[in-house]
């Protein structure tokens, strides 16, 4: 939404400048020549521009609120998934080290990557992952990931 909001804001401001000009011009004409057709036309243009400014501003506000809502929803979803993961890890009785390894696995790191990140030996990580799979009742990394996806898709985790 970023760029569109900026463009809309800029258009609103341009319209406002035009509106002020026409209102001022119409006022000057009235003072000079009284009410004539020309003034009515100018007044109409001014009115249309003012309406455009107000509607544009309202639309901009809607756009900003919409963007904020999606950002909030995303944050909630992230937080919710994080909570779900922590909750399951606790249920399965993962040790702190296992929970770390499991989280890295969920985030897509392979065994070598996890070993490097944790400064541990490949064998250790592989053993820890095996423990995680066993406690979670799955046989592979894909199975582990699927557990969470399944819950999310089912709505078991519960929309807020």
């Amino acid at each position: 939404m970023g760029r569109r909001a900026w463009v809309l804001a800029a258009i609103v401001l341009l319209q406002a400048v035009a509106a002020v000009f026409f209102v001022g011009d119409a006022l000057a004409d009235v003072r000079e020549d009284g009410w004539r057709a020309h003034v009515l036309v100018e007044g109409t243009i001014a009115l249309a521009l003012v309406a455009g400014v107000v509607l544009g501003a309202l639309e901009l506000k809607r756009m900003l609120a919409e963007a904020q809502r999606s950002a909030d929803a995303l944050a909630v979803a992230r937080g919710a998934l994080g909570e779900l993961v922590a909750e399951r890890f606790a249920q399965w009785g993962l040790t702190a080290a296992e929970a770390d390894v499991a989280l890295f696995a969920l985030k897509g790191f392979d065994t070598a990557g996890i070993a490097e990140l944790r400064g541990a030996a490949h064998g250790t990580v592989r053993a820890q992952l095996a423990q995680v799979y066993a406690k979670a009742g799955v046989s592979s990394r894909a199975g582990l990931v699927a557990l969470f996806f399944d819950e999310l898709l089912d709505g078991v985790a519960g929309p807020r």
Binding site: G2, R3, A5, W6, L8, A9, A10, V12, L13, A16, V17, A19, V20, F21, G24, D25, L27, A28, D29, R31, E32, V53, V54, A57, L58, L60, K61, L64, A65, Q68
Partner: protein, 222 residues
């Protein structure tokens, strides 16, 4: 309600940023560069007035942080903020802090006076009321005073010429002298307020971090 210690404060919305920097630029340009009473001066002033009007409209219908209701002009809030400063408390404000709010209203009121008096003198550019040149005394720069006197004389001559033609001079676009006086005083006040405003922002930035400035300078997503 506007104090929140955990949440990161969001940047101002595009309309707030555009009006803020647009008005700042207009004030700088008209205070320093354009010749008072010139077409350019009046054009820039007209644009500034439009930006001001939109920002005020935004104060009623805009997002929560941009609304007047988020930062009512309140001596109590200002005093609270002073207490925060004294106590070294650094609260994040979703909108303006108590002192900043007062400054915003002071700046807007002054801008409004400058815009209205400017309009009373010159109307909008290219229109009947602006066609008769209305040279003005430079508002800010004292060294230009001799020039100002010349301009004054010119204008008085124009006045006389007009009266000689039997016109009342009303359409000449130069109201009474006091309008010009008010315009100048308000313009000078504007620069004092702007300096205080910048000082306040710098102070608050040193005190509680660069977030204050980044909200107004941040980029498209800022």
């Amino acid at each position: 309600m506007d104090a929140n210690e955990t949440a990161t404060v969001r940047g101002w919305d595009p309309l707030v940023k555009l009006t803020h920097w647009g008005i700042a630029l207009a004030v700088l340009v008209n205070g320093v560069f354009t010749e008072e009473g010139s077409d350019w001066h009046v054009w820039v002033g007209t644009g500034m007035a439009a930006l001001l009007l939109v920002r005020l409209l935004w104060g009623f219908i805009g997002p929560k942080e941009a609304r007047f209701s988020a930062f009512p002009p309140s001596p109590t809030r200002a005093a609270d903020h002073v207490a925060d400063i004294v106590a070294g408390r650094k609260l994040a404000h979703a909108s303006h802090n108590g002192l900043g709010a007062l400054m915003a209203y002071a700046l807007w009121a002054t801008l409004g006076v400058v815009a209205v008096t400017g309009f009373l003198m010159s109307g909008v550019p290219g229109t009947a009321s602006a066609r008769v040149e209305a040279p003005m005394v430079p508002a800010v720069t004292a060294p230009l005073a001799p020039v100002a006197e010349e301009a004054d004389e010119e204008r008085e001559e124009a006045d006389e010429a007009e009266e000689g033609e039997g016109g009342e001079g009303a359409e000449g676009g130069e109201g009474p002298e006091w309008i010009e006086e008010v315009h100048e005083v308000a313009a000078n006040l504007l620069f004092v307020l702007a300096a205080l405003h910048i000082g306040g922002v710098l102070f608050e930035t040193r005190r509680s971090g660069p977030a204050v400035i980044r909200r107004m300078t941040g980029g498209v997503r800022g």
